[in-house]
Symmetry: C2
Amino acid sequence: MRRKLIVVSNRGPVTFSRDGSARRSSGGLATALRSLLQYHDVTWIASASSDGDRERAGVAFDQTTDDGSSYRLHLVEHEERAYDWFYNVVANPMLWFVQHSLWELAYTPKIDSAFHRAWRDGYEVVNASFAAAVVAELEREPEATVFFHDYHLYLAPPIVRRERPDARLMHFVHVPWPQPDYWRVLPPSMRCTIHEGLIANDLIGFHTDRWRSNFIYSARELLGEDVTHKTVTAPISIDPSEFDDLARSEPVLAAERELVARRPEQLVVRVDRTDPSKNIVRGFRAFELYLDAHPEARGRVGMLALLDPSRQDIPEYAEYLGAIEREARRVNDRFQEQGWRPVDLRIADDFPRSIAAYKQFDVLLVNAIFDGMNLVAKEAPVVNTRDGVVVLSENAGAHAELGEWALTVNPFDVEGQAQAIHEALSMDRFERKRRLDAIRRYVREHDVNEWLDIQFAALDRVAATARR
Amino acid sequence: MRRKLIVVSNRGPVTFSRDGSARRSSGGLATALRSLLQYHDVTWIASASSDGDRERAGVAFDQTTDDGSSYRLHLVEHEERAYDWFYNVVANPMLWFVQHSLWELAYTPKIDSAFHRAWRDGYEVVNASFAAAVVAELEREPEATVFFHDYHLYLAPPIVRRERPDARLMHFVHVPWPQPDYWRVLPPSMRCTIHEGLIANDLIGFHTDRWRSNFIYSARELLGEDVTHKTVTAPISIDPSEFDDLARSEPVLAAERELVARRPEQLVVRVDRTDPSKNIVRGFRAFELYLDAHPEARGRVGMLALLDPSRQDIPEYAEYLGAIEREARRVNDRFQEQGWRPVDLRIADDFPRSIAAYKQFDVLLVNAIFDGMNLVAKEAPVVNTRDGVVVLSENAGAHAELGEWALTVNPFDVEGQAQAIHEALSMDRFERKRRLDAIRRYVREHDVNEWLDIQFAALDRVAATARR
């Protein structure tokens, strides 16, 4: 069924340069949402993030994707200072750190008047601008369903609801939902406003039952409301055919040739943004413990870490990158010898090389501290050519679906991760293939379209119940 | 009703020196439990912690308190290395930091093989020694109720249960109970063993409904068991008459004279151990923000911080003391002038001076990050002479009882704390007196004996239900 949708996310599907050329946004969210454009009538509302974007901001215009789908794009321009507060103070790091339980509570955060102002004059203001754009689009298309995304937009739904009480609003939370005590890091007014903002929607989606029941629990504790009936579990996924195509593409084949020419006998791969939630430092430490316990692996096994530098405007992220480099250096200084470097660390945004590494891993390490889903755990197995084994954090959303075929690790237990790396590298080929095939089958059967189908079906049920 | 009790806690009521003289232990737990000795037949099992203790370890012997109550004391000697691992690696910081949500999860903890060994050869071993002492005492007095205390002893109850299936076991948890996601900082085997250890008791007590329901929730999530029926909320309290006597004692009067001679016009007091959970650094920052916003307070209002140095063998605690000193220095460098120092920081264990400060505060700041109860919030109002106002963290257990008469603060919101300090200092005398009187009345009506009565009544109910 073709639907009229107003998709609202901070980052849009493309960014424009001054000359009018459009560049596709990377990132799982933009990729997942692009698949909407094929099947539905979409107006997409997003922040203007470049000079080219800003020239086009304020009114919707028609766009066409590479595969010929057309949609309308409505870019919202924000005052620069408001956007900085919204993005670099409130959304990241504050909300991101709360939702991934990353604060060192003995010292951080210190919520001072600067933060209170960033909330009021940044986060609230940007959300109000988004809400105004939504209301304008609903004016044109009152029957459309509004589909909000993620932690940037918690305050927009109730503004839209006030203006358009009958609008159909849904929201998907792409990050973990922490339990209520961790929400208490925020002062009462802020944490309650966030929860009230979300429940102004008709439907709120989460990747896993775990994040969803945490939300139900925190809404009950903080607001005293039972919101079970307006929540849904919908695990995001990928378009496997996109990765099949990528795996055969010339840039990936070139990157793979280079990788094969240099690769050690066995290869442990991780592909991540340099985000503290990704647990990269402990991953290196675990690999060191593995090399400590298994001298026979030295010279034969290597770890390839392909890391996309992330949010370097934010001090916590800049510091984490420093810690990553320091830890890799330390492990390499301890073990490296002629022709073999234990940790091959690449800090760059190089998508073809990532796909090449997906094809070449013997072990894929996903040891995230907390992760809403982690799409790497779904993407890499689909194109892997070596019956590679997935080592997967129990705190990654993907674990709810793929855990039985992965080796489960606790993200804080570096000794357990070292043992899992060993177990994965010494697993017999039959068992490795059995597990990898099962993951692949699962991901192909549960693709990104299913993620959308689940949510729309749930929304229809909620709407039907409301009509009765 | 007089009961036969076997009290089990890591720290005992007294410590012996070589010459046989006994020194009373400080700390809320030892003080609270001492009131048991008056009313019940108690055998107390505790770790030998001095050379004098070790000379007396292994067999129980009779002791008499200052007020003439007699009890038996059974000191347990531990292998030095095992005790070090038990105390300085597992109990503090690991369990303490987990239960107070203090880890910086992006970097700490790293659970390595050293920690796994400290758990196995330290925490498990010391708990087994305690359990063996309990079993020996039950041999002598099979009808006695065993009363375990706190996070040091989570693994002892199931060992006793195996040996004596019919024993009556109760356990009181003096620290906060975090929600299940924070327990996941520990690998599955450890977090499950802790929960299984506690539910081997017939009754488990917590200070507040909040910690108790967190426990019920985490036992359900981690073990799949409903343990509601074996839990009780019993807020620990003080013996008010003890503080009345102290307030009139010569050492306190001397300390008070000294304090009065130096005190500024208005005095903000905090009394704490130098523990990261106490939120001392943010307290100084809040006081700085208050001075920033209220130039008229400079020279007139001072903060007195009486801090007992805590667990300095543990790096996280040593670092926190450094941060405390640095922050006080910074605020003083910014504001101090002839005859007035904004922050008067005293790092010492000086109980009479603490009581003198209790008498003299205009504002008592208790801004703990998380705190099981916080007895300072009960002790200080009882003896205060200035209609002082309590500023109280919403995450301190005491807030559940005293919150309505205190000014509530979020521990992370330094701006909110600065505003609360201002509000407290400018509150009219009538309102201050109304609030303080209410707190005093509450604490006098709900003293430490009530804490015990609630638990014993609940235990009898559980036992009666079990018999049916």
